[in-house]
């Protein structure tokens, strides 16, 4: 088998997605499986992201491999003008795999083309973050017992929010129904709706959070990210539009779970944390098992 990288969720087939989720479940049951002892994995964070980096580095350690790398690029040869290609070629010589995050979009795809070892994209600007998507899928499967025929209500910034776009792509394998709850300014882009039309997948759009709280299986909340806006007035208009509180959850489906890629700001009240519907902290923990599964799959071990 040639080297396989994970850059965008579309790089994995439905079978590969299910395989990785199955493996993640094994890791959740047994976290100590050090079959990567003797391996070295590079963790290259060209922009800081403590949450994602700690999750990946913990996964690497749990598998028994060693980590080298950096947590922000300000002190590296990149900041002295070395090209990304040269950095990746040099690091490739030392390690068995590269995990990388970079502020520029497409950087991980490019790195995977110049690297001699597998590359895992841990976020390239606003483009892709496939391990987040896989941990979302894992969380859906763990809470619902299945992925097929579920109703997913995506809430918030559906225009710039990459997590919703990738989740939509990945869920399209599993006959879902979508609700898109967003302000007019942040609606799901046309290209994704065209994609759903082409696959015969149903969706509804609304601006009201109350509209579809009671008929969804998954409520996927997102944060409105200031840095994605070029127009500060637009951001001011939409930043606080949705606020989910415990009192709004009296008639929801019993199996309904609330997911959120975290960090949250004001879109989920603290009082929601104590309801049986809150799953976002467990969701973040699931990232560890899913990342262990991704790494072992790409290195040919599981």
């Amino acid at each position: 088998m040639g080297k396989k990288s994970l850059i965008s969720i579309g790089d994995f087939s439905k079978e590969e997605i299910l395989h990785v989720l199955e493996t993640a479940r094994e890791f959740e049951q047994n976290k100590e499986q050090k079959f990567l002892e003797g391996k070295v994995i590079a963790s290259l964070f060209f922009e800081p992201s403590t949450r994602t980096r700690l999750s990946f580095e913990t996964a690497i350690n749990r598998l028994g491999a060693k980590v080298i790398g950096f947590s922000d690029a300000s002190n590296t040869s990149q900041s002295k003008g070395e090209t990304l290609k040269d950095t990746i070629k040099m690091v490739s010589n030392y390690v068995d795999m590269i995990v990388m995050r970079h502020p520029l979009e497409g950087s991980s795809r490019y790195a995977s083309e110049v690297a001699s070892v597998p590359v895992v994209n841990a976020g390239d600007g606003a483009n892709q973050h496939p391990s987040q998507t896989l941990l979302d899928l894992y969380s859906i499967m763990q809470t619902q017992g299945r992925l097929d025929s579920l109703t997913i209500n995506m809430v918030g910034d559906l225009k710039y929010g990459r997590t919703t776009h990738s989740l939509l792509q990945a869920m399209s394998h599993f006959n879902p129904k979508f609700i898109f709850t967003s302000p007019e300014e942040l609606k799901m882009p046309k290209e994704y709706k065209t994609f759903l039309d082409s696959k015969g997948i149903a969706y509804e759009e609304t601006t009201s959070l109350e509209d579809h709280l009671n008929d969804c299986d998954i409520l996927y909340m997102t944060r409105v990210q200031q840095e994605r806006f070029t127009d500060p007035m637009e951001y001011e208009r939409v930043k606080d539009v949705y606020r989910l509180s415990a009192s709004m959850l009296t008639d929801v489906k019993e199996n309904m779970k609330i997911l959120h890629p975290l960090p949250r700001i004001t879109e989920i009240d603290q009082d929601v944390d104590d309801t049986p519907y809150a799953y976002y902290f467990k969701q973040a923990e699931n990232g560890l098992y899913v990342r262990m599964a991704i790494i072992s799959y790409l290195l040919g071990y599981r």
């Binding site: 090209t83 990304l84 979009e105 497409g106 490019y110 600007g125 483009n127």
Partner: protein, 154 residues
């Protein structure tokens, strides 16, 4: 050439051997030269711009002496001149007429419109998949996965 004197257009531009690219939008002629890598070549090149055309209003035409192209090279022109026609001339005669086919992938000749795309910051050859929306072409960047229009070409 004596038998051509009745037709002025042909007199100035008759080719013994080479390629005539016709029906290029008048404002795309220089881009067409770039795309076909004709800058700095030794061949004799005749260019016509703002010629009147029944179908297009104003058109452009390029005649290149002693040069024959692979279809793959010519098809790159479909991005800026989808209605262009190609006449292959040998011994003053049109021996072949071709129309262009949109290539599925284009490498190196377009710029990604996304300012945060890695290809705009590092020395990387761009790669796009072409998407035909019926009346216009858009380009899906292989790297940043964003869609550009064809204004970014060259």
């Amino acid at each position: 050439m004596a038998n051509n004197t009745t037709n002025k257009e042909l007199v100035v531009s008759a080719l013994e051997n080479g390629t005539v690219l016709d029906h290029i939008p008048a404002d795309k002629v220089y881009k067409a030269l770039d795309i076909l890598n004709l800058k700095g070549v030794e061949n004799q090149i005749t260019i016509g711009i703002n010629l009147s055309s029944r179908a297009q209003g104003k058109k452009g035409i390029i005649k290149i002496a002693d040069k024959f192209f692979e279809d793959e090279e010519l098809n790159k022109l479909a991005l800026i001149a989808p209605k262009a026609t190609v006449n292959v001339i040998r011994n003053f005669e049109v021996v072949e007429k071709k129309t262009l086919t949109m290539p599925e992938e284009i490498v190196g000749i377009a710029k990604c419109m996304n300012p945060k795309c890695i290809t705009n910051h590092q020395p990387i050859k761009t790669r796009f998949t072409t998407i035909d929306n019926g009346n216009e072409i858009s380009l899906l960047c292989h790297y940043c996965e964003k869609i550009s229009d064809t204004r970014g070409i060259l």
